[in-house]
Symmetry: D3
Subunit: 299 residues, 6 copies
């Protein structure tokens, strides 16, 4: 849960991008405040994320604006549902609408796609005693990583590392240049204190054995076939029963249930952040006086 002062900084950057030279339309038509209400309508079924950012956009533009949440973050909004209501000066609603929806639709898109993976993985894992976590990656939009990882949590997923400093992850290139897994693990352990874990990425059974032997804290099976994953899981569970196993590479909505049957602990999926389509949400602005509902669509 990002602190407000950090959200405010991102929101002000985003608003500046849109309004630094003024809103020529709204400023010209409405020289004075106009009381208005906006209803957030889900145009498709979705998982809500990004409401704090949505609210922050309007509170930056007008500190008096009121916001009422009807569907909480992390919950499902059915198609047609009203997610929340924002009331205040209609000029702030018109000026902030596009920026606020840009955050909301993008982050709810991530939560929604994550949730789809979580549901499918749970179905696949029913035949198995291990429910794998759907986890994100560092394949995030530049500048929005913390927000996108929060949306993954709201969709029911968990977070993999946030940056290059909170986990050692030894990948194939590191292994090759360091001449073997054992060398690479040893080198990183020498400059690390105990608080950080060491994960090793392996691409076949032989490397998985070396990773176990090196004392890796987590083992990632990268781009393996289902049979290979099953063999690797069997091996690791037997020789290093406490070591979490992650699967990565090429997982999609079609194969995630099958992968989940393999009994792994984590399935990491870049697509939940880098390729989640925006979900369709609109802000319907009501002129309070005349009670007429209008669908506002910004370009």
């Amino acid at each position: 849960m990002a602190e407000y002062f950090l959200l405010k900084e991102i929101v002000e950057m985003a608003l500046a991008e849109d309004i630094v030279y003024g809103d020529k339309t709204t400023d010209a038509i409405f020289p004075r405040p106009v009381l208005a209400t906006g209803k957030l309508i889900a145009k498709e079924t979705l998982i809500v994320a990004g409401l704090e950012l949505f609210q922050t956009v309007f509170s930056v533009l007008d500190p008096q604006i009121q916001f009422e949440v009807l569907v909480a973050q992390g919950k499902e909004a059915k198609e047609g549902a009203c997610i929340g209501r924002v009331t205040g000066d209609g000029r702030a609603l018109l000026k902030g609408e596009r920026t606020a929806l840009n955050f909301l639709q993008h982050l709810s898109g991530i939560a929604t796609l994550t949730h789809q993976f979580v549901v499918l993985a749970a179905e696949g894992a029913q035949r198995n005693r291990t429910l794998p976590a759907i986890v994100d990656t560092r394949k995030t939009t530049p500048g929005l990583r913390v927000l996108e990882k929060e949306a993954v949590l709201l969709g029911g997923g968990l977070n993999h590392r946030f940056h290059l400093g909170d986990l050692v992850l030894i990948k194939d290139n590191h292994i090759a240049l360091a001449k073997g897994i054992a060398n690479a693990v040893r080198a990183t352990r020498a400059t690390l204190s105990h608080p950080l874990k060491i994960e090793v990425e392996v691409t076949n059974i032989k490397e998985a054995k070396e990773a176990i032997k090196s004392g890796a804290d987590i083992i990632m099976l990268d781009n393996m076939s289902i049979p290979e994953i099953e063999s690797a899981v069997a091996l690791i569970r037997k020789t290093a029963p406490l070591t979490p196993i992650e699967v990565s590479g090429g997982i999609n909505l079609k194969n995630v249930a099958r992968v989940a049957q393999c009994g792994v602990d984590m399935i990491s999926i870049g697509a939940i952040t880098h390729s989640a389509p925006a979900v369709d949400i609109s802000l319907e602005i009501t002129d309070d006086k005349r009670n007429r509902v209008k669908r506002s669509k910004a370009i």
Copy 2:
């Protein structure tokens, strides 16, 4: 074409997000420089965008790094093609890889999806004398609007307004609160000098007539059916032959060709920026000494 000092600022922000607490893996394993080469491989057919950002990531990390472009921006890279080569200290390659690919995959994704719309619209327009431009919207990722609009250009699209200050766009809500199109147009014209255009969004033939009468510079047909669009186009071409016509709302890869047959000038599509999936591109790092190719996949 964004100036280098602006790209550098965005890249440094993105790198800081990933590396402000160090790269615990690379720094531990490689205490000294390692000469290496990375090949950018298209894992699917795509239109290239974002190469300046890709290069800037590495030049920020190591000013000595060399970059060779093999497929220029705006061009198609076939699946398996090598888009470019980057050579220098392998530590900079490992540290910057994920950030550089995040930019490249996202922006090439936008260019690629835009291009698909452009091709389909051109096919649809063959039966018609007007080739409509595929244009973007303000439905962009907070902080990346200028970059995403550049990617739309590279995909063959054109840019709609960049912010709330470079075009007057009078939407349904403005019209309603201002009591009619004529009032709204008059109010904006009073505070505007001649350099900016005024566009009016209309949702039916009656409003289209009012927009023409008000002297709108551009008319946007919003969320109309194909027959409605055709009627509106006929009306406008007859009474205001020089006024460009934009269509907006609900356009997708399936219906864009049909919309293009209607003879409009612009088709604006939010999805080309907010829902373009990242295209698959990998950076294969070669240890120069041993000439071994490795596929590097960052989490």
Copy 3:
């Protein structure tokens, strides 16, 4: 009308410039709050601009400060008039006075000079059916463009383009290097969608003809003599009656009325932003207890 969060950023930058190492005088003399009132007195007749900035300076220094506006922005304050009153901790008044006046005097200076041009142009245009707008240029103070252009509006002028991206303006150098007006216009039109206009700068009748033929949206007559302007206007009105005409170069308070007689649509004047002298405004601080009036003048 710039949003408050943007004004606050500029004001905090300006205050930091003055007070980042403390106010050694005020802090030493007044260890505790002192209730005080400051009256803004116009020391010459002027058009008011910059009041939001003036207020923001004090609200940044003391959120409790009260501000009462007596002469609204865009209105004339006669010599000796009280423009407004600010009440609160006298320490905030003393610390912010100079910064607040720097904004107010500069921006009111711009509004006042603009207004003088507007009045003279209107007088000149009486003999003519076209009232030309007085418009600004990009000849603004680095960092203050948006504020200065707002002051031009308050003075009765209108705004020309805000930056290099909201209007195409093809100048003599562009034309020369592009080998002719037609080429230059064609090149820009190819990468532009419809929302932006294209203006062409011409220096003689021959170029004016080419500009008309190329389909320029606006024609600027640059540095022409009065007879040349009249010929050009006649030509353009005849062959392209809807094309707005701008005049630029060498316009001052002495010749603006004569230029306005020529029937052009816009007269652009760099001096209204880059050479407007600060108007004289003082803040007279009253110690509430003793009701004594003091004129505070900061160096």
Copy 4:
């Protein structure tokens, strides 16, 4: 002399204001570099200031650009003189021209006006043994204070305090609220170490006597008539011969020589920074191949 990294920051801010959404004209017309030369021509006689900023604009846009200075900063450029030459990619010249000239014309305007005061003061002081310094104030453009004070130096003036922390200046309001000059001076001295001076502003002979008695390091005569100034100078020279005397308030080009005759040490003038008109300087861009000279005038 501001360090380059500080100039770069200001220049990048100014350029961003102009070019953050691209230069739609130049980018469209010139897809490839064009070698060009720009000559800086003084259109009126002036004192040069701001050349580092002028150069920095272009070096930010194109690190390869060459700059040759023909009239050094602080020197006079006669009308028609060539101040310098800049050679490089013509696109950088076109994009940076307006921003670079905005700095140069504003700062040279300050240097030029300062120089006029310096010359007149020197003439006035000929009848007197004390040559007064022309000094600036804190009446500067928000964000540009350091640059403007540098321009004052180049015009032959000297700098008064830069901010509220490098000199104690006790003004009338401070005195009133602190119940007398002696109290105010005593209060500030108690929290100050020796490195800072204390200046006291006085408005009549009685206050001047108190200021001398309090041990003020500098005495400022504020808004006094010529006879009052002469009396005060006589008094101070007699009783505190080492204490510098500053005159402030209402000094202009007409009366500065007379004030200088009074034998004061400093004459401070807000107008040299807040009301100096921009001087007229143009950048004439030559297409190297064809050697044709063009006068570029940006709006």
Copy 5:
């Protein structure tokens, strides 16, 4: 006394360093607000400084938080004393505790060490008519200079210059390269107006004589022995009785009283800012409901 908007900027930077990726512990355990109170306990006797920063940390995290000061800044808190109480959402207390204490312990450490020097110098000076000020240097922590100098004031010291622009200080290297003290002083005086003082650093009696002759405003005796200091003081008092004398170099808690006996005006000590150990202060958090006291110690 730094203004709140400046403190807020520093505090937000410091908080971001700690919490930009979230507080994984607190956010997980406490999904909802928990009312709590924190007591600031001095674990050793100290002089309080940094309370505004301490408060600002919590007001940034939770605008509702209440703070009560029990020992004012600049006052002594005995070991075991309660310095203040902070009440509000326990999650803000837990998140901000370490950052708030980092400021408080560091700045109170500086105030405490400064105070020790002040007391010892006063004792030494009893035999002498001149009480020397303990002054700081520019040997401060990058980014915290203004805060550290405020802490010096709270400890009873005074401030030497804040930056390279508010005092001329001619050191041995300047003298050498300028070929003598007279030359150096003359060069600086030529570009200075009267508001700034000129201090000259001397290392022996000969140089002290030159400094006096040059008209230096302050003379610094650098790294001299006690007898040398005494000779220099005698000389300066005799020939330039109004010139303040500063001693610098190698002063510590053992020798400061002896130096103070020499009759100098200022003793400058780098250690009070660069080597003051943090004082021990803890925040004991009470769960209001159960009134149980817990000592919170953050790592």
Copy 6:
């Protein structure tokens, strides 16, 4: 190893603090470049840290400056040793000296103090099979955490967590409010994926047992006596032999060896960052022409 673009940002902030209003002394005396060399001399025996920052200061001020390292970072420089040499424009040396030394002396102070703890702990651990790491805390200087933690590594210590997001650390307050260790651990595990460890702070044997049972990844013994530590270590080694043990609270140079005898894995010490005195290092500047050595000491 912080990347250069991050160091540059910190250095520019630090330089701005010192030089934003110019260096009045150096600029006045040296209007032209002066070739000079500075030798970095250790005035006491120390461990070197901060050299990249030292170099960056000068490269920001003068890109041409040459730097030669004679004692590498992490190595010991004996009293009197020359650590490095910097050659270039003497004006950059004079301007940057104080800022560069502020970084170097502070960070080398941390490395030196850390090293003293490391040596003593190693001596204590000789009687024991476990060599404990000396680790830092979050008790760092606001804004400098990454730099200070790098200095700890150079001194032979290791790093504890960098921020609130790279390790779960459940402290006494969390435990109390969550009603027991088991609850707190369970709550954090529910929202965590596998990459992060969970550390539990315990203050007695009973809590240590609960921590083991909860499955804590690391156990911290906080503020226990030596006999308590020994009992806790015996218990943990027996029941959870793979769980690392950290000791914290009240460790100093006198007792660290005794603590190290207890067989723990980590000893965390706030003092190595928050109370390390600056080490004494000077920059002796030589005028190349005359080869005279001067000791430069900045205030």
